[in-house]
């Protein structure tokens, strides 16, 4: 292999490994608290719904007192009333960066007899809305799990202890169909490059089998049809498999296609069928990601199609890069298979096996 060929290969491998991030980044644990902010012509109001006992206990702990436990509705109401004047110390509200005074009241305390029904309180916070205000920043340090803040028809997820971000009071018009299509197209694309090293390695495993276009097209078509099928079926709830099963199998499929490249240089009869089966698994993986991202209710099909197109675009970019960097330049060299296909397939198979083991034990 020439120095430049070796350099190209190393650069390609390094660039692949560079974006080998986690398969799925999970969000924080989401609690049940909720904040709803409404604005009028001259005033704003926030309603905080949260569990009463932990809320009261945090106030007590903040005041250096032992927390009260096992309280009934009347006791909670009485104790919260006592702490109400201190609450404003825990809430920070600012409009366009300028702190705003708040007024706080206890609006409801609900503690149902049925232990399966949650207890909750509703706190009402309000104040004067400055004329022309564009953003509000909100921070309430007594909510200690991730919670939703609803404002102007939008949901913002707030993490405990995180500094309050400026949220728009008047978000622009709802996204148009082209906006949604573009957004989900991009999400689909980045799910492959750079967020999907496992899918990239699988596609490279397909590319490395032969230097002919026909077998590559056959495999990519089988893979695409299969993952489209399960992506649609999984999102419609027709098929479902836990990620603890899907993710290790996806990793194993990478190891398999790469390992098979070591033993054959032709498209075997079973390879398209196997690639199709593996494509079904990858489709379930894509569906898991899309379920986490969520689909807009009114434009579900559009978003789904766009996401899928983005995936195909990402896939094509990987194939084009592999063609431009490797196939086009070196496919006719005598050393192409022994010095490029074999070590690359070995490397991909090794990574696939590593991921398989890692995912079996961590998912």
């Amino acid at each position: 292999m020439t120095r430049s060929a070796t350099g190209t290969w190393i650069a390609l491998l390094l660039s692949l490994l560079a974006f080998c991030g986690p398969g799925s980044a999970m969000a924080h644990e989401i609690g049940e608290s909720r904040v709803v902010i409404e604005t009028g012509a001259a005033r704003w109001t926030a309603r905080i719904t949260t569990a009463p006992t932990p809320f009261l206990n945090r106030l007590e702990l903040a005041a250096g007192q032992a927390p009260s436990r096992g309280l009934n509705r009347d006791q909670i109401t009485a104790l919260l009333a006592r702490f109400l004047p201190d609450l404003s110390r825990h809430i920070t509200v600012a409009f366009d960066g300028t702190p705003a005074p708040t007024r706080i009241a206890l609006e409801a305390v609900e503690m149902p007899e049925d232990p399966l029904l949650p207890d909750y309180i509703v706190l009402r916070v309000d104040g004067v809305l400055p004329a022309g205000a564009q953003t509000i920043s909100w921070q309430f340090d007594l909510l200690k799990s991730r919670h939703a803040l609803l404002l102007a028809g939008q949901t913002h997820w707030l993490d405990p202890d995180a500094p309050g971000a400026a949220l728009p009071l008047h978000p622009g018009p709802p996204p148009t169909r082209p906006d949604i299509a573009g957004q989900y197209l991009w999400l689909g694309f980045i799910h492959i490059v750079p967020d999907g090293p496992d899918h990239v390695l699988f596609v490279l495993g397909l590319v490395l089998l032969t230097t002919r276009l026909g077998p590559l097209l056959t495999q990519v078509t089988a893979f695409t049809l299969a993952h489209c099928l399960t992506l649609f079926l999984a999102l419609d709830g027709v098929v479902s498999l836990p990620s603890a099963v899907v993710e290790p199998l996806i990793a194993l499929s990478i190891a398999y296609v790469a390992a098979e490249n070591l033993f054959t240089r032709r498209l075997t009869r079973w390879r398209p069928a196997l690639v199709f089966a593996f494509g079904l698994l990858h489709g379930l993986g894509f569906a898991g990601v899309l379920q986490e991202l969520g689909l807009p209710e009114e434009h579900r099909i559009l978003a789904l199609l766009s996401f899928n197109l983005g995936i195909e675009a990402g896939q094509l970019v990987v194939i084009a890069a592999a063609y431009g960097l490797l196939l086009h330049r070196f496919k006719d060299r005598v050393w192409y298979r022994p010095r490029l296909t074999t070590p690359a397939s070995l490397g991909i198979a090794g990574i696939g096996l590593y991921w398989t083991v890692e995912r079996v034990f961590t998912l």
């Binding site: 080998c20 999970m26 924080h28 644990e29 932990p54 799990s145 998912l363």
Partner: protein
């Protein structure tokens, strides 16, 4: 070597405030449910034994079960995805039963000062040393955290299930059945991937007095003891970390383990 002599650090009666990390534990509606009771079981996240109930998230659960006896097969804690309580389970109240949870936690990023405070408050000073050796002490720490929790349900008679080893990545295993032990102490083992873990900081908090924590470090055999003199609901917790794998987008993988139980009042 006696257990007392083996304990590396005696328990200290010092207020320990969590810096930034949030604890995780199982909180059943009752730690002493009666026979035939459909027991709501909450999964809690918070600080100082004061937490929020987490809605059930089926996709994150790897283990959520009731072990009614040492050799009895576990029963799944059932529930509805997306709502609290995390689950409900039927108990018979005859013998001590063990509830267990293992699941995905999440990922978090902490600025250096908050990460350092969290490491110190949970006895993970060695991570700080390793960070410095890697030149990462002034960088935002990226952490992937995992949750493991156990709770013991008091019943009419003790059961060896209390000390059953379930194979959680980080697991607290009590000696005997602490729900029936009125002596002013608690002893047990801390296991990391099934092996004794040395030097792990064990923190205990009493539900009625969570500001005053007790702590002790495990010895070479993974053993620890804590002077739990008061009766009431106790939370034992431990955190351990390892460097995230080569392909991970995080720097550290942390595992959080807890055990909650009702200790009888001293006689």
């Amino acid at each position: 070597m006696t257990l007392r002599a083996a304990v590396l650090v005696l328990a200290l009666l010092l207020p320990i405030r969590c810096a930034t990390a949030h604890d995780f534990w199982i909180e059943p509606a009752s730690y002493r449910p009666g026979a035939g009771f459909a027991l709501p079981v909450n999964l809690m996240v918070g600080e100082l034994f004061t937490g929020d109930a987490l809605p059930r998230d089926d996709s994150s659960i790897r283990l959520f079960a009731l072990y009614p006896g040492l050799t009895a097969p576990p029963r799944a804690v059932i529930g509805t995805d997306g709502i609290t309580p995390g689950g409900t389970v039927l108990v018979d109240g005859a013998r001590t039963a063990l509830l267990a949870f293992s699941g995905a936690g999440g990922v978090t990023e902490l600025p250096p000062d908050r990460f350092t405070a969290y490491l110190r408050s949970h006895g993970l000073e060695w991570v700080e040393v390793e960070q410095k050796a890697r030149g990462e002490e002034s960088e935002t720490a990226r952490e992937h955290f995992h949750r493991h929790a156990k709770a013991l349900l008091t019943a009419a008679a003790p059961d060896a299930v209390a000390g059953r080893v379930l194979g959680q990545t980080l697991e607290i295993v009590p000696d005997g059945d602490p729900t029936q032990d009125a002596s002013p102490s608690f002893s047990g083992r801390i296991l990391w991937r099934g092996e004794p873990l040395a030097g792990c900081l064990m923190i205990a908090r009493l539900y009625s007095d969570p500001l005053n924590a007790l702590q002790s470090r495990s010895d070479a055999a993974g053993r620890f003891s804590l002077p739990l003199a008061q009766g009431g609901v106790w939370l034992l917790q431990a955190v351990w970390m390892e460097r995230a794998g080569w392909f991970s987008g995080q720097d550290w993988e942390s595992h959080w383990s807890s055990l909650t139980f009702l200790k009888p009042e001293p006689r």
